[in-house]
């Protein structure tokens, strides 16, 4: 795709104000009071064993609670009832964590759902007349008419007309975008609003399958399925639960053989303390929160699998335009030829660009003002703007009998010849020089007179070089994809600091590159928006489609970026990594906690039989019962304490795997061993002070 074709592409990035929907999505704090209230109610509903069975760790806790409940009825004491209550609270806290994570999505879904309701559609009959039908009754293939002020009733492609559309309902961006029939900007989304003009839309979504519907179910987590890594971790946690069953069950005969008696309540307390309840309770909240973090950045992942894959990505394919460079090239230099002065060239170039609203045109006006103080002039009524077209490959203005043109060197040369002039060899020489340096030459002519060249340069985004360096430290290779020739591509690649580039890219070469990387065992992420990107988006392990893109592209990718900002691919990768790190860190923490719990409970179990074991009571807990209860209470409270961490994710700073691991092992491994010693002791002191066992 040549960049000149791209000039008219509507971009909505970085518009200032945000709508109420966006506020709903981004502004909600981690612990909104309303969400917390609902989550609390949800937490009780989740006691349903059919819900619990999906989480083997918490299911064991639930069963244990039921058993201690009956034991407490049979042998009532403050101790047994305290244990029972705290075990029940453990389950409740786990439910609560999940409910809070889900609550944020639910709140968003409610906002979206409100927009979906009761839209009327103007369906076109075969004879061309209109009928009013509810949007919900529209079927795939129906044609509907939308005019100024109408809500587009369902997803579809424009087959007739052009309109500006307010997509803030979906993207949160209030700046309107242009949608027109044909090409890559023909897709419209149900729930968005036509601001001007009239379009005819062919519905492409089945009932209940619209983008809005999918978005609602995604943010709500209604169809949330466990991701591959989540499944693997669940298996490990199940194994860590299963192993402790014989440990605890065998303790009863061991104790009996040793002349000690251990009550069922104490054994269950021990079991619950040992199985990895912390990570078991927070695992699904971590997953939901990971998806939610994407949604907050306006990225919709079609599956959790894609988010996880993002963490594994080793190769990023990044489109040059919009990702690595600012969307458009900017005028950077005026190079006069044939003895013309620079100021003369600047003046003419400015005139040629005054009516040119493309970013390149604007940048020429700005440069002329910066360099020579040439002010914007009000054009008289006697001017005709000649817009750019793919055939002429130039644009310009007819003004007071002058015909000023700027455009591709070859095109301007032809124009000059046609006007009776003769272009000098200077032009080719300068144009070649500019091209070699990775910029684009734009020739300027006033009638038959050639004045010189405007150098249009790709401006590499600020800070992008540092981002790529971070990616490199994470072991991710960045590849720039561009339609430019290899020379230009190499110059920009060098400036931006990407590891590699694919010049003169076509959908085929892009596809070949992805396949080659995947053959080498690497996971590939890319962004795309055009229909011709669709196969590559589908082939890539993480394909982020721009919301401004075609329906085909959006369906092929496994994520949609509502902001249509390709740079976000980098953030997506970071979120994927953060998700896995959070799981790993809390698993480590959970297992490391067991050491202290053993030192609390084992001496308590046997100290009456073997007083020597008092030596193991290194926390010098007050009594066997206070020791066991303290461990159980710690075990329950630590879940609540870690909910914010689970929802926010552990701190992630891009650096090498070794550095990340060392840091997390210190915090969650060593910290996981030390922390419970301190807190169990504190809880024991409080219990003792309160005589509460």
């Amino acid at each position: 795709m040549s960049d000149l074709d791209n000039i008219s592409a509507a971009k909505t990035v970085d518009s200032g104000s945000s709508s109420s929907v966006k506020k709903a999505r981004q502004g909600r704090s981690l612990f909104d009071r309303q969400i917390l209230g609902q989550a609390f109610a949800e937490a009780f509903k989740k006691f349903d064993p059919r819900v619990q069975i999906k989480n083997p760790v918490m299911f064991v806790v639930l069963i244990g609670t039921v058993v201690t409940f009956f034991e407490s009825i049979a042998h009532p004491s403050i101790f047994t009832w305290s244990v029972t209550i705290w075990l029940a609270l453990t389950v409740l806290f786990a439910n609560f964590a999940e409910a809070v994570a889900e609550g944020r999505g639910k709140a968003q879904a409610d906002t979206l759902r409100r927009m979906r309701t009761e839209t009327e559609a103007r369906r076109l009959r075969e004879d061309g007349t209109e009928e009013h039908v509810p949007a919900a009754s529209l079927a795939k293939g129906d044609l509907v008419v939308c005019e100024t002020g109408d809500i587009i009733p369902s997803d579809g492609d424009i087959i007739e007309g052009i309109a500006s559309v307010d997509e803030s309902a979906i993207t949160g961006e209030s700046a309107p975008v242009i949608r027109e029939s044909g090409g890559d900007r023909s897709a419209v989304t149900g729930g968005t609003k036509v601001l001007s003009d009239r379009i005819v839309v062919k519905i492409t979504a089945e009932r209940g399958q619209t983008f809005l519907d999918r978005m609602i179910s995604l943010v709500e987590g209604a169809q949330r399925q466990k991701t591959p890594n989540e499944i693997a971790l669940t298996i490990l946690l199940a194994a860590l639960t299963i192993i402790f069953l014989p440990v605890v069950v065998a303790l009863k005969p061991f104790a009996h053989f040793s002349g000690a008696d251990v009550s069922v309540v104490v054994l269950i307390a021990l079991l619950v303390c040992l199985i990895p309840t912390t990570i078991g309770a927070l695992l699904s909240a971590i997953g939901i929160a990971g998806m939610d973090r994407l949604v907050q950045r306006n990225v919709l992942a079609m599956s959790g699998r894609a988010v996880e894959a993002a963490g594994d990505v080793q190769t990023l394919l990044l489109d040059k335009t919009g990702t690595i460079t600012l969307g458009n090239r900017m005028a950077s230099r005026f190079i006069p030829i044939d003895g013309h002065s620079e100021e003369e060239l600047a003046g003419v170039a400015q005139l040629a660009s005054l009516a040119d609203e493309t970013p390149e045109g604007r940048s020429i006006v700005v440069l002329a003002k910066e360099r020579f103080g040439i002010r914007e002039r009000a054009l008289g009524s006697e001017h005709v703007f000649v817009p750019f077209s793919a055939q002429t490959r130039m644009s310009g203005i007819d003004l007071d009998g002058r015909e000023i043109r700027k455009g591709a060197t070859e095109a301007i040369k032809r124009w000059v010849v046609a006007q009776g002039g003769s272009p000098s060899s200077d032009l080719d020489h300068v144009a070649d020089q500019v091209a070699t340096a990775g910029a684009t030459p734009l020739a300027v002519a006033d009638g038959s007179t050639l004045l010189g060249i405007i150098e249009l340069k790709d401006v590499v985004k600020k800070g992008i070089r540092e981002r790529f360096a971070q990616m490199r430290s994470l072991g991710i290779r960045t590849v720039m994809i561009t339609g430019d020739n290899p020379l230009t591509a190499a110059a920009i690649a060098q400036e931006a600091g990407v590891d590699d580039y694919l010049a003169e890219a076509t959908p085929e070469t892009k596809m070949a590159l992805i396949k080659a990387e995947q053959e080498g065992g690497k996971l590939v992420a890319m962004t795309g928006d055009g229909t011709n990107d669709a196969p590559a988006l589908a082939q890539a392990d993480v394909g982020v489609a721009m919301n401004t893109g075609t329906t085909a592209a959006k369906e092929a990718g496994n994520m949609v970026d509502l902001d249509s900002n390709p740079t976000k691919l980098i953030e997506v990768v970071e979120i994927g990594k953060q998700l896995l790190i959070t799981r790993g860190a809390l698993t480590t923490f959970s297992i490391a906690n067991d050491v202290a719990k053993y030192f609390a409970i084992i001496p308590a179990l046997f100290v009456t039989t073997y007083p020597q074991l008092k030596a193991l009571n290194i926390m010098s807990l007050h009594s066997p019962q206070s020791a066991i209860l303290s461990a159980v209470i710690f075990n329950a409270l630590v879940i609540v304490a870690l909910i914010p961490l689970a929802l926010r994710g552990v701190r992630f700073k891009p650096s090498s795997a070794a550095a990340i691991l060392r840091r997390n092992l210190m915090i969650y491994g060593v910290g996981g061993i030390v922390a419970p010693f301190i807190f169990i002791k504190i809880i024991d002191l409080i219990l003792t002070a309160l005589h509460a066992y």
């Binding site: 080793q314 072991g475 179990l605």
Partner: protein
């Protein structure tokens, strides 16, 4: 030779074994060693095996299990009929069914737990034709599984993991036989017995009674007993018997033979997966745990016996010498027993039952860590690789990638198999011990009461399930109950880990390799070694802490008090 020099010599010998035996073993299993092909080929023809035909993991596992099943049956039949067979100069009767079953399974699973005294139970034919044969083949089976798992890591997109029959044959022919042959000659030269001449009857004129001194083909059995980490002694006293382990040199040789293959296999592993550093990391984890346990064990045995101290003898000039041979001393005895329990050998040159509490703790917990430091021949490395998969999974998550080990992604299937491989041993030990302490037949076996009695039972099930065969002693276990229940430990501890290991080999071999990058969790760095040690210790501690606290820990804290 001072204890320190013993250690230095051991390190030198093992370093040589690691480098050269390790490389040689890689060559053997990659089919590059052919000097005995003239024996190999007719053997394959006889067995009807195509040595070039590769097997899927299922076929590999099926071959292994069928082979082991036949081996159990053959061993059982020989023991049951030894009275009718030749080479029985003592006219020993047929072995009873329960004991024969126990012994057959014990030797085929490389456990070599012995509920009998060899000299009064087994004919020479049973010793040589049944038990020694299993010493060779069970060891070779163990190495074969290890090599198959290593192939799982080194291969890419492969449906097969090697051929069990060629791996089995090559292990015996190129590795076990030559080394044992040399080892046996040294044992003989040092005074170990090697005869088919039957026992010697003498009349002790001085004391006026008749004595029968058993003899037999001991040296040949001794070498493979150690080399194959089998541990089953010819005599009841095992490595403490001067006919089996006559001198300090044979004691040192025994220790070296036990360790050389398990240690060497870490080099083989590194070589076969294309990075010796990976093998060094595994070896480092093994060595650090081994070193720590050895330090605790030798230190504990170098202390006075607390029971003697409690009895009022506060000044003791040596460490705990009860149940030890004077020619080995306290520390070298502890070294031998620590080596034998940290591998899956189980031979002893001193009585574990008489060790100080912390000494007994080291030999018992050495096994509880899963026999991976360095573990039995083959079984050590395949078990530690299973632990490594768990370590990589947890560590890999913490760097934000789907965890991978040696380029192989560790996903649900691998975690499931690794978890299975890790869980079988502790679950089996705990359940069998719980049964034994709950039923009368189990309760009456230990000779001691209280925590020491509990240790005697716990130790035996830890030993049998880890296929170690080391006995704490003090347990009268030649009963129908123990003979039968122990076989569950033998079988589960062996095959319920081998099958997941081979399944892992299969799934790993089929996978593509993810190229390493800066984002990869490096498994050849100290941090991985630390994590692996952490996983081994934590899994072991979490599963056995309650049980151990009722045994050796209480005893240690009781300062010599009897129960």
């Amino acid at each position: 030779m001072g204890f320190l020099w013993t250690l230095v010599a051991l390190v030198v010998v093992l370093a040589i074994a690691w480098r050269f035996l390790g490389q040689y073993m890689a060559a053997v299993y990659e089919g590059r060693v052919k000097w005995a092909a003239f024996v190999e080929r007719p053997f394959y023809r006889l067995m009807g095996v195509d040595p070039e035909a590769e097997q899927s993991w299922q076929r590999y596992a099926a071959s292994l299990i069928v082979f082991s099943g036949i081996a159990i049956l053959a061993t059982y039949l020989i023991l049951r009929t030894q009275a009718y067979l030749p080479f029985n100069p003592q006219h020993l009767p047929n072995v009873t069914p329960a004991l024969a079953w126990n012994t057959a399974v014990s030797f085929v699973t490389n456990t070599n737990w012995q509920n009998y005294s060899g000299e009064t139970t087994m004919s020479y034919l049973s010793q040589m034709g049944a038990l020694a044969v299993q010493n060779f083949v069970s060891a070779s089976v163990g190495i074969a599984v290890a090599v198959a798992l290593i192939r799982g890591f080194s291969r890419k997109g492969s449906k097969t993991i090697g051929n069990f029959w060629t791996d089995l044959t090559r292990g015996i022919l190129y590795i076990l036989l030559p080394i044992s042959f040399i080892g046996a000659i040294i044992f003989m030269a040092q005074g170990a017995l090697q005869t088919l001449g039957g026992p010697v009857h003498i009349h002790d004129v001085l004391n006026g009674f008749n004595q029968t001194i058993p003899r037999g083909p001991v040296a040949s059995q001794e070498a493979i007993k150690q080399l194959g980490t089998n541990g089953g002694g010819f005599f009841n006293a095992n490595g403490a018997d001067p006919f089996e382990n006559p001198t300090g040199l044979t004691n040192f040789l025994s220790i070296s033979l036990i360790l050389c293959i398990p240690v060497g296999l870490t080099y083989t592993f590194g070589k076969m997966v294309g990075s010796v550093r990976q093998g060094v990391a595994i070896l480092a984890a093994m060595a650090i745990i081994f070193g720590a346990w050895l330090a605790i064990g030798t230190f504990a045995e170098h202390q006075a016996n607390p029971a003697v101290t409690a009895a009022g003898l506060t000044h003791q000039t040596t460490g705990n010498m009860e149940g030890k041979e004077v020619r080995f001393g306290d520390t070298s005895s502890a070294l031998y027993n620590v080596v034998s329990t940290q591998t899956s050998t189980g031979s002893v040159n001193s009585a574990n039952d008489s060790y100080n509490p912390m000494g007994g703790f080291t030999t018992m917990t050495g096994m509880m860590l899963g026999e991976v430091t360095p573990g039995g021949v083959g079984s050590g490395i395949y078990t530690i690789l299973i632990y490594a998969i768990i370590a990589v999974f947890i560590g890999g998550l913490m760097v934000g990638r789907t965890p991978e080990y040696l380029g192989k992604k560790i996903q649900a299937a691998e975690v499931k198999l690794a978890a299975l491989g890790t869980l079988v041993m502790p679950i089996t030990v705990l359940i069998l011990t719980a049964i034994a302490v709950s039923v009368h037949a189990g309760q009456v076996a230990p000779l001691n009461k209280g925590p020491h009695g509990f240790s005697e039972i716990l130790y035996s099930f830890t030993s049998v399930t880890n296929n170690n065969g080391s006995a704490f002693a003090g347990l009268s276990s030649n009963t129908a109950f123990y003979n039968i229940i122990q076989t569950f430990g033998f079988l589960l501890g062996r095959f319920a880990i081998i099958v997941p290991a081979l399944a892992l080999a299969g799934t790993l071999a089929a996978k593509n390799v993810v190229p390493a990058s800066l984002g990869t969790f490096r498994t050849d760095k100290p941090i991985f070694v630390g994590l692996l040690i952490g996983v081994i210790l934590i899994v072991g501690a979490l599963t056995f802490f309650p049980a151990v606290s009722l045994g050796p820990i209480v005893e240690q804290l009781s300062h010599g008090k009897f129960f």
